[in-house]
């Protein structure tokens, strides 16, 4: 059975980076957002608190500004670009879903949704991706 990829801090860092890269569309913006996410989280961490609340890192990351309104040059291509082009909250939800860092119940809690709402969101996002694949295959 495949297990969740949430063993180490570096796995979380990579996952946070992927989430932020899909949200922002640009590597440099993603790195900056990751830096701010870690900084904000560390500043808000109580000194007596032991260990890192990884879920809180993702909550903070989701508060970071994503792609701006005007179309910018993106560093993405292929499926990552298709993910980036999805509207929110589908974009972040399905990205986190594919990252396989948290189980769906934890994920729905991070996103502030019920698990049924999360399932609907993932279903809708997947359909959008499939339709993009169909379009690109047709052209």
């Amino acid at each position: 059975m495949t297990r969740l990829k949430s063993d180490s801090a570096s796995e979380h860092i990579q996952a946070l980076y992927r989430l932020l890269l899909i949200r922002t569309g640009q590597r440099i913006r993603a790195e900056r957002a990751l830096r701010e996410t870690l900084t904000d989280s560390l500043q808000n961490t109580h000194p007596a608190q032991n260990g890192t609340d990884f879920a809180e890192l993702y909550r903070t990351a989701l508060k970071m500004p994503s792609a701006v309104d005007e179309p910018l040059e993106t560093d993405l291509a292929g499926w990552p670009l298709a993910l980036h082009q999805l509207p929110e909250p589908e974009r972040s939800a399905i990205t986190l879903f594919y990252l396989e860092i948290f189980s769906p119940p934890v994920l729905s809690e991070i996103l502030g949704l019920t698990i049924e709402e999360l399932a609907r969101l993932i279903g809708a996002a997947r359909k959008s991706l499939e339709s993009q694949q169909t379009k690109s295959t047709a052209t």
Binding site: M1, T2, R3, L4, K5, S8, A9, S10, H12, I13, Q14, Y17, R18, L21, I22, Q26, R27, I28, E31, R32, L34, R35, L38, T39, L42, Q43, T45, P47, T52, E73, T74, D75, A77, G78, W79, P80, A82, L83, T95, F97, Y98, L99, E100, S103, P104, P105, I115, E116, L118, A119, R120, I122, G123, R126, L129, E130
Partner: protein, 286 residues
């Protein structure tokens, strides 16, 4: 509820209690099993490409180290991460984007440049400051030692000589030491005093004029060059100079040697510079 969670099925999630029943049900029926298989195949393609987006290991390690060192302040964190080389990142397709990235990083580094100077820079700045202060103190002391109170008045007096034509003087051809009576009888001047070494200098003309409220006796004389001699009460021009000590004041065109005789200030001037005056005074003293 079971079917509504079907879209959340992924091999990694099937052991989750909320999804376990849905997963086993989906795998039990052929139709739903095929749907699940198709869904998983599609999701795998997307997830694989998503996983190919990676930070360089060094960068990821730098970010991860922040999580294990929460006491480090936020600013130093930014710097630590900012040091990773851009070409260490992997999985990006476009060259143009990496160029844009490095450009943005440069801008970012400029914007977030550390505001704290390095100790060596601080020491260097303090050293330069100390040297400058010492130089300034030496200059002020030296200036003070080489000057005397009222030196600026002497400079003004030297300046006034620029306007002389020679017609202002009354012709008196004698020796400088013999003019005390002439000045007293002609102008009622009491403060006439000439240093001994100037007593035998031949005079050409004399006059008395007012300068800043002081009565000044002026003699045009000839030594090895044309010179002017001035005598006036020291206190009237606020000049304080030690008796017998020569001070030299240099102006743009004129140079003056000043000394005190009792309460009278004696000034000898000619067109030249400080070195010439030194030489002149040493020659006269012989």
């Amino acid at each position: 509820m079971g079917q509504s969670l079907f879209s959340l099925l992924r091999p990694a999630y099937e052991s989750t209690p909320e999804l376990a029943a849905v997963a086993s049900q989906a795998r039990a029926e052929i139709e739903s099993f095929n749907d699940l298989k198709q869904q998983i195949e599609f999701d795998d393609k997307v997830a694989q490409e998503l996983a190919s987006l990676k930070l360089a290991d060094s960068q990821a390690a730098a970010f991860a180290s922040l999580l294990s060192a929460p006491s480090v302040n936020a600013h130093s964190k930014g710097n630590l991460i900012g040091t990773a080389k851009p070409d260490e990142t992997r999985g990006e397709p476009s060259r143009t984007s990496s160029e844009a990235q490095s450009k943005e990083e440069e801008e970012e580094e400029e914007g977030e440049a550390p505001t704290r100077a390095r100790p060596r820079t601080i020491l260097f700045a303090v050293g330069v400051g100390l040297v400058a202060t010492v130089c300034m103190v030496i200059f002020l002391i030296s200036d003070r030692l080489n000057s005397f109170e009222g030196a600026d008045r002497i400079s003004e007096l030297l300046d006034s000589a620029n306007d002389l034509t020679g017609d202002e003087f009354e012709a008196v051809e004698t020796k400088a030491g013999d003019l005390q009576d002439w000045f007293f009888l002609k102008h009622g001047l009491e403060h006439y005093a000439v240093p001994k070494q100037f007593a035998n200098i031949k005079t050409v003309g004399c006059r008395v004029f007012k300068f800043n409220g002081a009565t000044v006796a002026q003699i045009m004389a000839v030594a090895d060059k044309e010179i002017l001699l001035y005598m006036f009460p020291s206190n009237e021009l606020g000049i304080k100079i030690r008796k017998g000590k020569w001070e030299i004041v240099e102006d743009e065109r004129w140079v003056g040697g000043v000394t005190g005789i009792n309460n009278t200030c004696f000034l000898v001037a000619f067109q030249g510079n400080k070195d010439e005056m030194k030489e002149f005074l040493s020659n006269v003293a012989r």
